[in-house]
């Protein structure tokens, strides 16, 4: 799986970038490279990693899902209200949330494959629809104080790790396994690489793409559980914005906009590049708002780099 290939090295560029950033910020702030700060960075970013992994299924398959932020909003509101207002058991609320997330993904997948509109526009539209539904259900109220059993997600420990960190690791390992060791993973790569050829190879491309959106919705719903367990609060405005971080992390981590390429370790590094930049800026006393500018710039830079690499490859091919 990790056989040496000189062009393959660029897949891991982002890991070196991350290490360089860590080095840089440890020089600029004595508080950066402390156990407490690093633990904080990891703990604050577990759900971003989970959501980014979910999104990667859609993106490697050559699609995009801009609605994950409002999927999270809707799933979190429904899960929280089931526990807090309707006093349903925690397990039922979690299952309902996961099923709802999967359904939202399924809807996206069906719209994208049946109506055949650009996934960018389709999921932008469903995003706004999910937003409306989320606010209607929650009546724009805040729900807090979940049962202790739900807070288990972020408060308990497994094998010495906080449960959410453990869960994130599990999802990362599982996703890597799916991509590199399974038939399904190969077909996702194939679909992202050449959709028509996949169809001619006998793959049911439409069904596969719907499945990818559904998997994305399911994994995003898991991320949502982590998010609201951590904050012990829910509001319809929680979640939106995550799609931007996950998308940027994916591109920074080498998942091409065109699909067919990407690996999970680099994706995780992509999330932490954004996290470390934010954290470093905060420690340097820049506050929160300049971070938006930097994140936007990082996305632009990453997309430009992706494009440049592809053009370079194309011209190299043309010459040979």
């Amino acid at each position: 799986m990790l056989r040496f290939d000189p062009s393959g090295l660029r897949k891991y560029t982002v890991i070196f970038v991350l290490l360089a950033l860590v080095g840089l910020f440890s020089l600029t702030s004595p508080y950066f490279l402390t156990t407490r700060n690093i633990t904080n960075i990891i703990s604050q970013n577990t759900y971003f990693v989970i959501v980014a992994v979910g999104l990667s299924f859609v993106m490697i398959g050559g699609g995009i899902d801009l609605s994950v932020g409002y999927q999270m909003s809707l799933v979190s509101v429904v899960t929280a209200m089931l526990m807090v207002i309707y006093e349903q058991p925690v397990w039922l609320a979690i299952i309902a949330g996961l099923v709802l997330g999967t359904l939202l993904g399924l809807i996206n997948g069906i719209i994208v494959t049946r109506i055949r509109i650009f996934p960018l526009i389709a999921t932008l539209a469903t995003s706004v629809i999910f937003q409306g539904i989320s606010y209607m259900i929650s009546q724009a109220k805040t729900y807090r104080n979940y049962p202790e059993a739900f807070l288990f997600i972020t408060k308990s420990k497994v094998l010495g790790l906080p449960f959410d960190v453990f869960l994130t690791l599990l999802i990362v390992v599982l996703a890597s396994f799916v991509y590199y060791q399974t038939i399904f993973g190969l077909r996702v790569m194939a679909l992202g690489g050449n959709e028509e050829a996949s169809r001619l190879a006998g793959i049911n491309t439409r069904r596969l793409r719907v499945a990818l959106y559904a998997i994305c919705g399911f994994v995003v719903a898991i991320g949502t559980m982590v998010m609201i367990s951590k904050s012990n609060t829910t509001h319809s405005s929680f979640g939106p914005g995550t799609e931007f971080i996950a998308l940027t992390a994916a591109i920074v981590g080498g998942i091409s906009f065109m699909g067919g390429e990407g690996n999970v370790p680099a994706l995780v590094a992509g999330v932490f590049v954004l996290a470390v930049v934010g954290n470093g800026m905060q420690l340097a006393g820049w506050g929160i708002y300049p971070q938006y500018i930097v994140r936007g710039a990082i996305l632009l830079g990453a997309v430009a780099f992706d494009e440049y690499q592809k053009n370079a490859r194309r011209s190299r091919l043309a010459k040979s």
């Binding site: 038939i183 194939a190 050829a197 996949s198 001619l200 091919l317 040979s320």
Partner: protein, 262 residues
């Protein structure tokens, strides 16, 4: 019913909107022969072959494979009957290596429920195929994006025969190749014939057909014009048939109704 033909197509018709791409075409392919499919641009060659490979659905007509009537709804149906097609645009995956390109869609599986990829067997089999076809691809782990047109054709061929295809359809395989590579490919095609495959070869290069084919099938304006025995015709005969059709005076020669279906 035992048939003399591996493939029989009867009265195949296909329309694209208002364009009548194929009009009642009959085709018979004998076991173990190479049949060239020729015709001008828009004659319906690719359309006819895509119907046989399951990529297009015919509007009318019947298809028999080894004497049995078949219904081809998608490429998978055709695969299952041993029909493989190598497309003009090659239908390869530039993001995948040779072995993955060969096996995608029909992977070797292992593990519980057969969900896992049996990479070891895939690479081994890919290596064998490369050797068997005597093609110059150094390793099944190479990415196809950086390969030459000829090598890419070889990968596509390996893909087609890996699944024990009995009938192989090739759409303009030599079109983008240089002289040396085209020569290698033609000998590969001969090699495939010796292995017992029946081959349908679409091409614009008539000399290729005369060099390796047994018979040549001429289409014009979506209609069958003639099936010529290669040993009894000259290049001129074939070209005349392509241009003029079966009616040499040209009075009843069908016109080409639309130019862009090759």
């Amino acid at each position: 019913m035992k048939s003399d033909y591996v493939v029989e197509m009867r009265g195949i018709g296909k329309r694209f909107g208002g364009i009548h791409a194929l009009k009642g075409v009959d085709l018979e392919l004998r076991p173990g022969e190479i049949m060239g499919i020729v015709g001008d641009n828009g004659a319906g060659k690719s359309t006819l072959m895509k119907i046989l490979s399951g990529a297009y659905l015919a509007d009318e007509g019947e298809i028999y494979v080894e004497g049995r009537k078949v219904h081809l709804h998608n490429p998978q149906d055709a695969y299952n009957l041993g029909i493989g097609m190598i497309y003009q645009d090659l239908a390869l995956f530039n993001n995948l290596d040779v072995a993955r390109n060969i096996f995608v869609g029909r992977e070797y599986s292992r593990g519980p429920l057969g969900l896992m990829l049996d990479k070891k067997s895939m690479y081994k089999k890919a290596e064998e195929l490369i050797q068997e076809l005597r093609v110059d691809i150094k390793s099944p782990r190479l990415n196809v994006a950086r390969m030459s047109g000829g090598q890419r054709q070889m990968v596509a061929c390996a893909r087609a025969i890996a699944f024990q295809s009995k009938i192989l359809i090739m759409d303009e395989p030599t079109a983008a190749l240089g002289v040396t590579e085209a020569g290698k490919l033609l000998s590969l095609i001969r090699n495939l014939k010796e292995r017992g495959l029946s081959i349908l070869l679409i091409t614009q290069r008539i000399p290729d057909i005369l060099a390796i084919a047994d018979r040549v099938f001429v289409l014009k304006g979506g209609q069958r014009q003639a099936v010529l025995d290669v040993s009894q015709v000259t290049l001129d005969d074939v070209v005349t048939m392509i241009v003029r059709g079966k009616d040499p005076n040209g009075i009843n020669a069908p016109s080409v109704e639309f130019q862009s279906f090759g």
